[in-house]
């Protein structure tokens, strides 16, 4: 018995040592965020996503904030879009680990605002820019009269086209939706090789570009009445828009019927694309010798904003980011000051000069006046957001729209498919 005990004791001791010695080396818990709400000196943690915010803006923000708030510091912690929702879901619920200010995708924002993850900013709105702020973003983050997030920057997709191919087919740059669809079909017919050539590159899952056709036809993804959201894909107008999208899928696109819209520069540089709708930054990748084709097709790029049926820019989906203050942040006042700096003219100017549509309408001209800047401004001028329904994230999460558009691309009946999609969405939209 004794031996056995000794043995067990030895084993336990060894293992205790292993645990402690090997893993006890780190224990930094910065528990300095005391609960006092007085604008006491603190470290403000700002979560920015990906590499979108230019270094110049980050440096300016940190320096200016620390100059204006002596004793306080500002730390930018870069987050990845991949896994952002999981991180926000956990971190924003924690008193000790929550960041103070977060950037969030504008379509992700409504879910978190309706859940109470952010502090209201309604009182601050005027000093942050008021009517000069991109209104769609503000509306998207407003619930029952309270606004919980403000725009950070925006970006809309516009059309890239091959000048040489348009010329070869004898086409002009389209100025209305009808002309656009005709041009796309004509380009496809004019280029029988390669077999997967696209007059308009339109992969099956790409509902984000597809939404423009629904809105242009006067339809909508979902509508609200008496506080109840319902899917409206099967309204007559929406179906007309879906039919137009289907025409493009079937007669103009050579993209995979079930593919997604990632890496559009790959088919473009393979000479398989006449026109495509992409974000402006794709230009940089097409012109980069490592990723694109600077010596060939990149020289033929032209751009325009997708025209609507009335000749004005079509309502395309507005992408971009919101900025919000974590409800659990212990430093509300300092966080507000940081947000004010991020919406200041100086900061937004840096964003605009780097090609991001600024959060303040009045700064849009800073984007420049070449054709790319003009297309950016024009596309954003009539852009729309996804419905501000509390359950919209559920709709995106279950990929109803990807399935719908992919089925359209395969030649399904638009009215029938739209009715099915509406039925699915009705169970999800109201959270």
């Amino acid at each position: 018995m004794r031996i056995k005990k000794t043995l067990a004791g030895a084993a336990l001791a060894t293992l205790a040592l292993t645990t402690l010695a090997a893993c006890g080396s780190d224990s930094d818990s910065d528990g300095d965020n005391s609960g006092d709400s007085a604008p006491k000196a603190a470290d403000i943690r700002v979560w920015l996503n990906g590499a979108d915010t230019p270094q110049e803006a980050r440096d300016w923000l940190k320096k200016t904030f620390e100059d204006q708030n002596p004793g306080s510091t500002l730390t930018i912690e870069e987050q990845e879009w991949d896994g952002l929702v999981e991180r926000l879901t956990t971190a924003l619920s924690s008193d000790s680990e929550t960041p103070d200010v977060v950037e969030i995708g504008n379509t992700q924002a409504p879910t978190f605002t309706s859940a109470g993850a952010f502090s209201p900013m309604t009182d601050q709105l005027d000093e942050l820019g008021g009517d000069d702020l991109l209104q769609g973003f503000v509306d998207g983050a407003t619930i029952d009269g309270e606004t919980y997030a403000v725009p950070y920057y925006a970006g809309s997709k516009y059309i890239f086209y091959r000048k040489d191919l348009l010329e070869k087919a004898g086409l002009e740059v389209p100025t209305t939706m009808d002309e656009f669809v005709d041009a796309a079909v004509a380009l496809k017919q004019d280029n029988p090789k390669p077999a997967n050539f696209s007059g308009f590159w339109f992969p099956g899952q790409d509902w984000r570009n597809g939404a423009a056709f629904i809105w242009d036809a006067g339809g909508d993804l979902a509508v609200e009445s008496d506080g109840e959201w319902t899917g409206s894909l099967s309204s007559a107008e929406s179906v007309a828009g879906l039919e137009r999208a289907q025409q493009l899928f079937l007669e103009a696109s050579g993209a995979p019927k079930d593919g997604n819209e990632a890496d559009p520069w790959t088919p473009f540089c393979a000479g398989e694309v006449g026109m495509m709708s992409t974000p402006g930054w794709v230009k940089g990748l097409i012109e980069d010798p490592e990723t694109g084709c600077p010596d060939t097709f990149a020289k033929e790029i032209g751009v325009f904003a997708l025209p609507g049926s009335d000749g004005a820019p079509a309502p395309v989906l507005l992408g971009g980011s919101d900025i919000a203050i974590a409800a659990k942040s212990a430093n509300q006042e300092l966080a507000q000051k940081a947000v004010a700096l991020m919406l200041s003219e100086e900061y937004q100017t840096i964003l605009a000069e780097n090609g991001l549509t600024p959060a303040l309408n009045s700064l849009a001209p800073l984007l420049g006046d070449d054709e790319f800047a003009q297309a950016t401004i024009a596309a954003a001028s009539n852009a729309k957001l996804t419905p501000a329904a509390p359950g919209w994230a559920t709709v995106e999460g279950s990929r109803v729209l990807e399935d719908l558009f992919s089925a359209l691309a395969q030649g399904g009946d638009p009215a029938e498919l739209a009715a099915d999609a509406d039925e699915q969405m009705n169970g999800q939209l109201n959270g």
């Binding site: 859940a115 109470g116 079930d258 559920t394 279950s398 990929r399 395969q410």
Partner: protein, 303 residues
């Protein structure tokens, strides 16, 4: 059995030896598991996550689940998919292990190296590469088949659910075979050569040798490995999730793993997701219960 360990005695020692493992499990999983069960009886969404008090809804989550026709479609699909994948993985893994005994040393080392590298490849990379290989326009597989004169130009492998699951099966089997092959091969090295030679002299053919000598010896290993395959393949998530992003119809290709995700994290309905998770646990226990019974019987015999 050679298992003649110290006979039963009233001693606190074995319990003391279990303390670290139990403590670690209770510490890391105790609260989360209890909370998971509690959540499944609550209406718990993102708003509750950020502080709104949750509402008790009794069995509503379960009721909603059971009356959801789609869940049963997904469940059935998952069971079939799981069994097909587990069986294929086992057949190929065990087959490879048996073959490895017959190979020349050089070839065997080659095969082991290949399996090793496949096992060590990070999941992100292997999922990406497989996606590229099956890509509609730029995939190597379509390229080769087209070069061979077949009409595979622009063929979408993910478009039809059956073809989608074929691709998923290829990837999952490729990822799981190394573990099975290595383990079973290790077990095979325990089969006594003397016995096999004796059987050979007695005129037993390869099939007879396999059935009467080899399989009885490695049966316990096969059971352990097999049960793990069933557990893992029923839960499969990443492979399906990534492939759904690449193509195909999400609604027609959801398995329980992706469905839970879309009910829970994807959409913030944590109460519902907890109910599905418990449903899945029950399902796994039910699916593996024949195995469990055999294994427990063996245990009892040892006692």
């Amino acid at each position: 059995m050679t298992d003649t360990a110290p006979r039963p005695r009233r001693s606190p020692l074995p319990y003391a030896l279990l303390v670290p493992a139990v403590a670690a499990l209770v510490l890391a999983l105790g609260y989360p598991l209890v909370r998971q069960v509690v959540l499944s009886f609550q209406e718990f969404g993102l708003a509750q996550q950020f502080g709104r008090p949750p509402e008790w809804v009794g069995l509503d989550n379960y009721k909603a689940l059971i009356t959801d026709d789609y869940l049963w479609v997904v469940t059935l699909r998952s069971i079939v998919f799981c069994l097909v994948n587990a069986v294929l993985t086992m057949v190929i893994g065990v087959g490879l292990a048996l073959l490895m005994r017959q190979m020349s040393k050089g070839v065997r080392i080659l095969v082991q190296t290949g399996l090793l590298l496949a096992w060590a490849m990070p999941i992100v990379a292997s999922l990406t590469v497989w996606q590229w290989l099956f890509d509609t326009n730029y995939g190597v597989i379509n390229y080769l088949l087209t070069q061979a004169g077949l009409d595979f130009e622009g063929h979408s492998w993910l478009l039809r659910p059956l073809s989608f699951f074929f691709v998923a099966t290829v990837i999952i089997v490729w990822m799981s075979v190394p573990f099975v092959a290595f383990t079973v091969y290790a077990a095979l090295t325990q089969v006594s050569d003397d016995l096999i030679e004796a059987a050979e002299i007695d005129g037993a053919g390869p099939t007879a040798r396999l059935r009467h000598i080899i399989f009885p010896t490695i049966k316990p290993v096969l059971m352990v490995v097999g049960i793990l395959q069933v557990i893992w393949d029923l839960r499969v998530f990443s492979q399906i999730y990534i492939l759904q992003k690449a193509g195909g119809s999400t609604h027609d290709t959801n398995l329980l793993g992706t469905y839970i995700y879309r009910l829970g994290i994807g959409t913030g309905e944590f109460g519902m997701a907890a109910a599905v998770a418990i449903f899945m646990l029950v399902l796994t226990v039910a699916l593996t219960s024949p195995y469990l019974r055999v294994m427990l019987k063996q245990e009892k015999e040892q006692d």
